[in-house]
């Protein structure tokens, strides 16, 4: 059964993400995904993903996430930055499920609605319109990061050319990349 269009029909709530929000979101996404900011910008998905989150979890929760993120990202050291993200976001009962869903969205192009209990606790008045996992858009799928991470490509798009599968892929191992987020 094919998933319906994700709650994309509804307009953004009155307070829309500003330029600072978008910048922090990009750098947070970079820290969360292990892809550099311009790699993420190259997907064209940063804006749409923040818009989606804004609609689904609302401006207040997004604001909390971005505030915590700005704090964590102020750490220059990779290790303390990671610890800060884990402490203030990843393990937070309120914000953790959202950032985890965000990582999955970046990596697979699919939005997985937050667990029923979370929705009942934090968004009882704005349930997620998506009944189940849904591909956010063709661009979300085509630029999903997991394929870049593993030297492959999304099935059905970005083919690498006849016979290319007989050779190692063009991209070098991800171990050589690293993230800088300021």
């Amino acid at each position: 059964m094919s998933p319906t269009a994700p709650g994309a029909a509804s307009p953004l709530p009155d307070r829309a993400p500003g330029a600072v929000d978008r910048d922090v979101f990009l750098r947070l996404s970079s820290a969360l995904t292990g892809f550099s900011p311009i790699e993420l910008q190259g997907t064209g998905n940063s804006g749409p993903f923040l818009d989606h989150l804004w609609r689904i979890v609302g401006p207040e929760i997004c604001g909390e996430i971005l505030t915590a993120a700005a704090g964590a990202l102020a750490n220059m050291d990779d290790s303390t930055r990671e610890q800060a993200i884990r402490a203030t976001l990843w393990t937070s009962p309120k914000l953790g499920p959202v950032v985890q869903a965000l990582v999955r969205l970046w990596y697979t192009g699919k939005w997985n609605p937050l667990p029923a209990q979370w929705q009942e606790t934090y968004r009882w008045d704005h349930p997620d319109p998506n009944p189940g996992a849904v591909t956010l858009s063709p661009q979300a799928y085509v630029e999903s990061l997991v394929f870049t991470a593993i030297g492959a490509h999304p099935p059905g798009a970005k083919p690498t050319g006849h016979g290319s599968w007989a050779f190692p892929p063009a991209l070098a191992p991800a171990a050589l990349h690293h993230v800088v987020t300021t």
Binding site: G42, P138, G161, G163
Partner: protein, 365 residues
């Protein structure tokens, strides 16, 4: 070994032809890649097909050069022009830019492919139109054959050339072993590019798609007028509508240079990587054109990768102009430095690593 120096002018002119045919590829590629996914499908397909035919022309010229004992060169320092650039070896003012798909770009493409005026004669570089240049080349070939004999002129080895089996799509590739082949190749190039008798090829069989595909010039006219040509049309198409949306295009900066960006900018390094990938393409083609035709397959892989890298760049907002995104550069001047970077061949913020590091080393055959 007999003195082959009489062939030097021919080699130079064919190498010039190689450079001219190539010079259109970065602009066509950029316009094509700048079209947003899902939009302008027909226009995108036209530009793509023209670009692929230019690659065919490049290969035909390379085959001709090999046929007369020359060695095609695509990686020497000045092979890729610095854009914006006066179209190589052309007399009339024709500045070609690396820019997004737009009415201006289409006008430039029309100028590039413009057919010669009726009665216009052959011209050596600098020439008015490509067609006149090829007429001149035809004359030169005939003269040399008359003076020295066909066998002396066509002294190259057929195995050095790219055979049809290594090349698919976009028209007919031939191996050149005699004057008649070379003349056929020149005709193919001119018919596909400018056409001779209006929108449709006089001989539909020349056209590889087997159908009545207009020459490049007329295909660009279809985009300009947003209509397809049909039988009976002369200079303006009156057929089916061809919708074009010039807003569904990445708003890239034109004629991007490395120096536009500060030295440690992540965008700069992404641009260098892109240009280096393009350099890989030229290296693969050069190998293919110098006795290793199976390298065409690698060149194709590189083209696929190039498109992905281009589209990624074109989505990045440019710090230099808030209304625009990062453009492309094909500048080969930093290629060696990218090659020479340490094993982590990357910039911390870029993440891209170029295609096949092993171009220079032993390749799986």
């Amino acid at each position: 070994m007999s003195d082959r120096s009489f062939l030097d002018p021919l080699h130079r002119q064919l190498q010039a032809a190689l450079q001219v045919e190539h010079a259109t590829i970065p602009p066509y590629f950029t316009a094509w890649a700048s079209i947003q996914d899902g939009a302008n499908g027909e226009a995108a397909e036209i530009i793509r097909s023209v670009m692929l035919e230019e690659m065919l022309h490049l290969t035909l010229v390379a085959n001709m050069l090999n046929a007369v004992g020359g060695s095609p060169s695509l990686t020497h320092k000045h092979f890729v022009p610095h854009y914006p650039h006066q179209l190589p070896h052309t007399k009339r003012p024709l500045m070609v830019s690396i820019e997004k798909f737009s009415p201006d770009a289409i006008n430039t493409f029309l100028s590039i492919e413009r057919p010669e005026a009726p009665g216009a004669g052959p011209q050596a570089p600098p020439f008015d139109t490509l067609g006149q240049f090829y007429d001149h080349l035809e004359g030169l070939l005939r003269t040399l054959c008359d003076e020295h004999g066909e066998t002396a002129v066509f002294c190259g080895k057929a195995e050095q050339q790219v055979p049809p089996s290594a090349y698919y799509g976009a028209g007919r590739l031939i191996v050149v072993t005699k004057l008649q082949d070379a003349l056929g190749a020149l005709t193919e190039i001119v018919e596909q590019g400018e056409g001779h008798d209006g929108p449709f090829d006089a001989d539909a069989a020349i056209c590889g798609t087997g159908g009545r595909e207009p020459a490049h010039f007329y295909r660009f006219l279809e985009i300009r007028y947003q209509r397809r040509f049909r039988d009976g049309d002369a200079d303006q198409p009156s057929g089916a509508a061809l919708p074009v949306d010039y807003t569904a295009v990445h708003p890239i900066r034109s004629n991007t240079q490395f120096d536009d960006y500060p030295p440690d900018s992540p965008v700069l390094h992404a641009l260098e990587e892109f240009a280096a990938t393009y350099g890989d393409l030229l290296e693969w083609l050069e190998q293919a054109f110098n006795g290793q035709p199976d390298r065409i397959a690698q060149a194709v892989h590189t083209m696929f990768a190039l498109k992905n890298q281009a589209q990624a760049l074109m989505r990045i907002p440019s710090e230099l102009d808030p209304a625009r995104t990062v453009g492309l550069t094909f500048d080969q001047s930093r290629r060696r430095s990218v090659h020479r970077r340490s094993p982590a061949r990357h910039h911390p913020e870029v993440g891209w690593i170029r295609t096949h590091s092993s171009i220079a080393s032993s390749e799986p055959t």
